[in-house]
């Protein structure tokens, strides 16, 4: 790989008393798809807003394309492309005008603007909509247009803030294809998402963030591997005693007591280990209410490291969110 394109060290950012980002350090290699995964309000958007120079720096340092985002914000802006979380489109401009406007405010020469427009409209398959006003596009088309716009200037890094939020499953799959295609052409992708499957399907590397802190990082494979071969979830009449009983089985490498029951990490094939575990618990005379076994997913990684499910339905990052600002994306 060609070296680090994003380097963040001890970055913190607060809104009043609320610490949205709390002393995080990470880096992104040029050419990879990097995901920032976490529930709503975890600090993902705040981080992206600092990296894209939209929020002033408070403490710590951040470099994008080798440039300090605090001191060289003007140069950083030239090196990056952004697809915002909310819809950011002029509803009364056409698809072509939207791209033309973007190219012009980035001072691209005319020839280059026109060539890129043609190329990108083809890439996101909006050829038939070039003269359509953006308000007449579907949610997925708007997203594709925004992605095309983010690529107009051939940025070295493309920031995608929750790119498929509110989109239907088929549209999400198509957007993922575009993102993969763009990455194959050499653009580094920095993605934030609260969808586990999205991070899993797309990224080379994932960092899980919660309450402004990075909890764990690595490739999606390695993260899942930390949870062993298989996982078991158990609900029993007495979780504390059941945990002790489960620990007696050598293939159970870890037992974690959580609010809804027990999480067991198994070091070998669960189909063979599960009967042993159940027998051991029953021998102690503890009633078993339910049992579930599965291959670890990123969801489980998240639940394992945070002890709870992904929060949902909360406002992002504690930013002031005007309810009027929120435009749902329909298809």
């Amino acid at each position: 790989m060609a070296g680090k394109i994003i380097e963040v060290e001890n970055l913190s950012h607060s809104f009043g008393d609320f610490k949205a980002v709390d002393n995080i350090t990470f880096s992104v290699e040029e050419g990879e798809i990097f995901s920032f995964l976490g529930p709503n309000g975890a600090g993902k958007s705040t981080t992206i807003n600092v990296l894209t120079t939209q929020l002033a720096c408070q403490s710590g340092s951040a470099k994008v394309c080798g440039l300090d985002v605090c001191k060289d914000s003007h140069q950083v802006k030239k090196c990056i492309g952004i697809v915002f979380q909310d819809e950011v489109l002029d509803r009364d401009l056409t698809v072509r005008e939207t791209l033309e406007f973007h190219g012009r405010i980035y001072s691209m020469p005319r020839e280059q603007r026109l060539a890129r427009q043609k190329e990108l409209i083809a890439l996101v398959e909006l050829e038939e909509k070039v003269d359509e006003r953006t308000k007449n596009l579907s949610g997925g088309m708007k997203r594709r247009l925004e992605i095309a716009r983010g690529l107009m200037t051939r940025p070295r890094v493309l920031f995608l803030d929750e790119p498929t939020i509110g989109l239907d499953p088929q549209t999400r799959l198509r957007i993922w294809d575009y993102i993969k295609g763009i990455n194959e052409e050499g653009t580094t992708i920095f993605l934030t998402t609260h969808y586990m499957d999205e991070a899993d399907r797309l990224s080379d590397r994932v960092e899980i963030i919660d309450h402004g802190r990075i909890i764990v990082s690595g490739t999606s494979e390695s993260l899942k591997n930390t949870l062993g071969e298989d996982m078991m979830y158990l609900e029993t009449a007495d979780d504390a005693r059941a945990a002790a009983a489960a620990k007696r089985i050598p293939e159970v490498s870890q037992v974690k007591q959580m609010s809804g029951g027990l999480e067991l990490i198994l070091s070998s094939d669960g189909a063979k280990v599960m009967p042993k575990v159940l027998r051991s618990i029953e021998q102690d005379g503890i009633g078993i209410v339910s049992v579930k076994m599965k291959k670890p997913s990123l969801d489980d990684v998240f639940v394992h490291y945070t002890g709870r499910e992904l929060r949902d339905g909360q406002t992002e990052d504690g930013n002031k969110h005007n309810s009027m600002k929120h435009r749902p994306r329909g298809h």
Binding site: N49, F101, H102, R149, K325
Partner: protein
């Protein structure tokens, strides 16, 4: 400074011609003022009930002609005060984020929107003037073609500097405020006093002292003076008042508007410099 402001201007003008209904409404309002208020008031004064003294040898101007200058000025005022609202739409539902995230300096937005506001004002004032002339407004009495041309250029110069002043004012306010409601409130709060403490619709000579003071700092008053000077000449009577403007008065009025535009430009500059949205 690069040329990016021309892109902002380009977009302003696309939106101006694209919203035909909005353009129509923007023109219909001053037209209605002229047609209903102007004609109604003029016919009131035309009867025997009110007889205003006139001075022999000096042009006496009927009410419709008198207030036409005021309506032209109000058209520019409304266009520009509400022109800044577009920025608020961009902040809440549009592409302000895209613009601020780009390497373009935010002042390009200010200049582009400013140019757009001035252009819109010029077009609308021009159209209202033509409408007025068709209604029988007695502008340019006894002027030669060359004099009419100079008069129109003079009026447009006043429209330009006045509009710049108010488009910068409204842009600066729009960039500082959050919600749509507050900007609307501020704008409405501004328009009424500006209109009624000016000489747009009536003479200010009979105003009580305190109201005259307010009127004499109101940019709209100086703007209307400028239009009347170029459209009617430096010496005329209307509604029983004798109006005399020297060239020096008009230069002073123009300078006053320039200073006003300079101040609002600086205000807007500061508003844009710290603009951020997340």
């Amino acid at each position: 400074m690069g040329k990016e402001f021309l892109t902002i201007y380009w977009r302003e003008m696309i939106r101006f011609v694209r919203f035909k209904a909005q353009l129509f409404v923007a023109l219909i309002q001053p037209a209605l003022w002229l047609l209903l208020f102007g004609v109604a008031m003029a016919s009131n004064f035309a009867g025997d009930a009110v007889v205003f003294p006139t001075i022999p040898g000096i042009v006496d101007v009927d009410y419709l002609t008198f207030m036409a200058a005021g309506v032209m000025a109000m058209t520019a005022l409304f266009t520009c005060l509400f022109g800044g609202m577009g920025l608020l739409f961009d902040k809440n539902w549009g592409i302000m984020k895209e613009m601020l995230a780009s390497p373009m300096r935010p002042h390009h937005i200010q200049i582009g929107v400013g140019l757009g506001g001035v252009t819109k004002s010029l077009i609308q004032v021009g159209l209202i003037m033509c409408f007025g002339l068709a209604l029988g407004v007695g502008f340019f009495p006894g002027f030669s073609v060359a004099e009419v041309l100079i008069a129109v250029l003079g009026i447009f110069a006043f429209v330009t500097v006045f509009s710049a002043g108010f488009i910068f004012l409204s842009s600066g306010i729009a960039m500082r405020l959050e919600g749509m409601e507050s900007v609307q409130a501020v704008m409405t709060f501004l328009t009424m006093p500006l209109m009624f403490t000016s000489n747009a619709l009536y003479s200010t000579s009979a105003f009580p002292q305190w109201l005259q003071v307010i009127s004499s700092v109101n940019p709209l008053t100086y703007f209307v003076d400028g239009i009347r000077y170029f459209a009617l000449g430096g010496d005329f009577t209307a509604l029983g008042s004798h109006y005399e403007y020297t060239g020096g008065d008009i230069v002073a009025s123009f300078a006053y508007l320039m200073v006003f535009a300079g101040l609002t430009f600086a205000f807007a500059w500061r508003s844009f410099r710290n603009a951020r949205i997340t």
